[in-house]
């Protein structure tokens, strides 16, 4: 499953965001079907005129649900096999969303003006008094952040509640349950993607699903048209196996 979070107005397009949606795509479903609107799985709707002040409890509930589907699974019938019962398990492959969605899901920063602007590397900025904004050194590369750092930060609780003065601008505590339940853990650095055009196409979710499960199209093929009638001719004297075996090699 590829999970995604987004905000949308309910009932009235001119209104502000009135609800936050979390939905997922099943990657087992074929490529042309999985991202259709009717096949997206709505996992939760946060009602209200404003978005919630803290997203953590909502995300924790969604992640516990995912963890349960991995650990315990659920019994369900299969319509394609005469309603035969089986146990389905589910794995969270990827977390996508638009910028506010990912920022809410992982409690990352929404803007690039923070001390830790990037949630994937250790680029740290400082406040330039002349420009009155946070600037970053133009270095070639910064050391990347790893998932272990995130989990270490969730396990460490200091008196101030943060690891340092400029703590990592993130809180992945809600994903701790996935990390401890999944075999091999859940890599919060590599298993999330931000998609600026999320409303339009959902590029990251689509492509990740296609990479993970293949992009096989299962639309019915059009009826075959015979373009070479010569191919339909039947050879009156088919070559037998004996002929092939006893054929002399041309020199």
């Amino acid at each position: 499953m590829v999970c995604s979070s987004d905000g949308a107005p309910l009932f009235d397009l001119s209104a502000k965001k009135s609800a936050v949606f979390c939905y997922g795509f099943l990657v087992n479903v074929s490529a042309n079907e999985r991202t259709k609107l009717e096949n997206a799985i709505v996992r939760g709707i946060v009602c209200g005129p404003q978005k919630p002040k803290r997203w953590f409890p909502f995300q924790l509930l969604l992640n516990e649900d995912l963890a349960l589907m991995y650990v315990r699974g659920a019994r369900m019938p299969d319509a394609s096999r005469g309603m035969e019962e089986f146990t389905m398990y589910c794995l969270d492959l990827f977390e996508t969303g638009d910028l506010p969605g990912i920022a809410a899901t992982f409690s990352t920063v929404e803007s690039a003006g923070a001390f830790h602007a990037c949630d994937k590397c250790h680029a740290t900025g400082h406040k330039d008094q002349a420009l009155n904004r946070t600037v970053f050194p133009a270095a070639g590369s910064f050391p990347p952040r790893t998932s272990a750092e995130y989990w270490r930060a969730t396990q460490t609780v200091t008196e101030s509640g943060r690891e340092s003065e400029h703590a990592f601008a993130t809180d992945t505590s809600a994903f701790e349950v996935l990390n401890s339940v999944y075999s091999g853990g859940f890599d919060v650095v590599d298993r999330r993607g931000t998609d600026l055009m999320h409303h339009v196409s959902g590029v990251v979710g689509k492509r990740t699903a296609h990479l993970a499960a293949g992009s096989r199209n299962t639309n019915k093929l059009p009826p075959a048209t015979i373009t070479k009638p010569a191919l339909l001719k039947v050879n009156p004297k088919p070559t037998t196996a004996k002929q092939i075996l006893t054929a002399k090699r041309k020199t």
Binding site: T146, E176, G184
Partner: protein
């Protein structure tokens, strides 16, 4: 010598507590740092893959047919997108109701007026609509209310042993805001003051998907897809998430050796080196 397998697992015990806490320099730091562990173990009563009684919508008969034409007798062919069906009428009515903040009672009165005006129209009653919504949503949605002040917690019980067990609380455990509004004339029961979260558990939504034959035919696991995927994910997460990049891996190993060296430096060096801090470098196996 330690095997490299020890590096494959991130061990917070190794990092934050242990023998190096005896060193005077790090004692103060360890006092400020508390380590918390949540045992993510499924509760015993929830460990069955049957989480609830199965509700199959196909066996539940509703008297309300959403594809029925709203005004019967005008056309006899099956309804298309151009026709007003009961479902489309309800869709438009619900939007109009939410936009203008109209109560269910007033909506029912409007339905009755419409039925009085157009007797041949198949106007549903509000009771029918409520029953339909209950049938569609029944067993599929769990509604939880959040802390009204700051959305600190959801008042719910986790199905894990170490999870949050807040369903019986009357106040938020973090900010102690009151969970309920008082009883009023409209509702004798206390009303949740915070925002509502409609959670659709995956077990229900996936079950609904598996009742569709076209989708269910695609859902059985393709092992040629899943096995490489699991291998890649497993290798990927083992190699990156628990040990970090190779640079960080080396740094972590060095830090670990530094800690071990400091710890051994306090002991008497068996090889009799002058400086105990380098004891680990000249240490020999006791059998030699």
């Amino acid at each position: 010598m330690e095997s490299d397998d020890a590096d494959f697992f991130f061990d917070p015990e190794l990092e934050y507590s242990g023998d190096d806490s005896e060193l005077p320099g790090v004692v103060a730091a360890h006092e400020a740092v508390a380590t918390r562990f949540v045992p993510w173990v499924v509760k015993r009563q929830h460990s069955s893959p049957y989480p609830c009684t199965a509700v199959l919508l196909s066996t539940v008969g509703t008297t309300l047919d959403l594809n029925q034409p709203f005004i019967a007798g005008i056309f006899h062919e099956p309804a298309t997108g151009a026709h007003v069906t009961v479902g489309r009428f309800l869709d438009a009515t619900t939007r109009w109701q939410s936009r203008n903040k109209i109560s269910d009672t007033a909506l029912g009165q409007m339905f009755a007026l419409l039925q009085w005006t157009v007797p041949e129209a198949a106007v549903p009653t509000v009771r029918q609509v409520t029953y339909l919504v209950d049938q569609v949503m029944g067993g599929g949605v769990e509604v939880h209310d959040a802390c009204p002040a700051e959305d600190c917690v959801l008042f719910r019980d986790s199905e894990f042993e170490g999870g949050q067990q807040y369903v019986t609380l009357q106040r938020c455990p973090e900010c102690s805001a009151s969970r309920y509004k008082g009883a009023s004339g409209a509702s004798p029961l206390p009303v949740p003051a915070g925002r509502l979260f409609m959670h659709l558990p995956l077990r229900f939504t996936l079950r609904n998907i598996m009742t569709s034959e076209e989708l269910a035919a695609q859902m059985p696991i393709d092992l040629t897809v899943l096995l490489p995927l699991c291998t890649v994910l497993r290798y990927h997460s083992r190699s990156l998430s628990h040990t970090g990049t190779p640079t960080e891996k080396v740094a972590r190993r060095e830090a670990q050796r530094r800690v071990e060296r400091r710890r051994l430096g306090r002991q008497a060096c068996p090889a009799g080196a002058a400086d105990g801090r380098y004891g680990v470098l000249v240490r020999r196996s006791p059998t030699v």
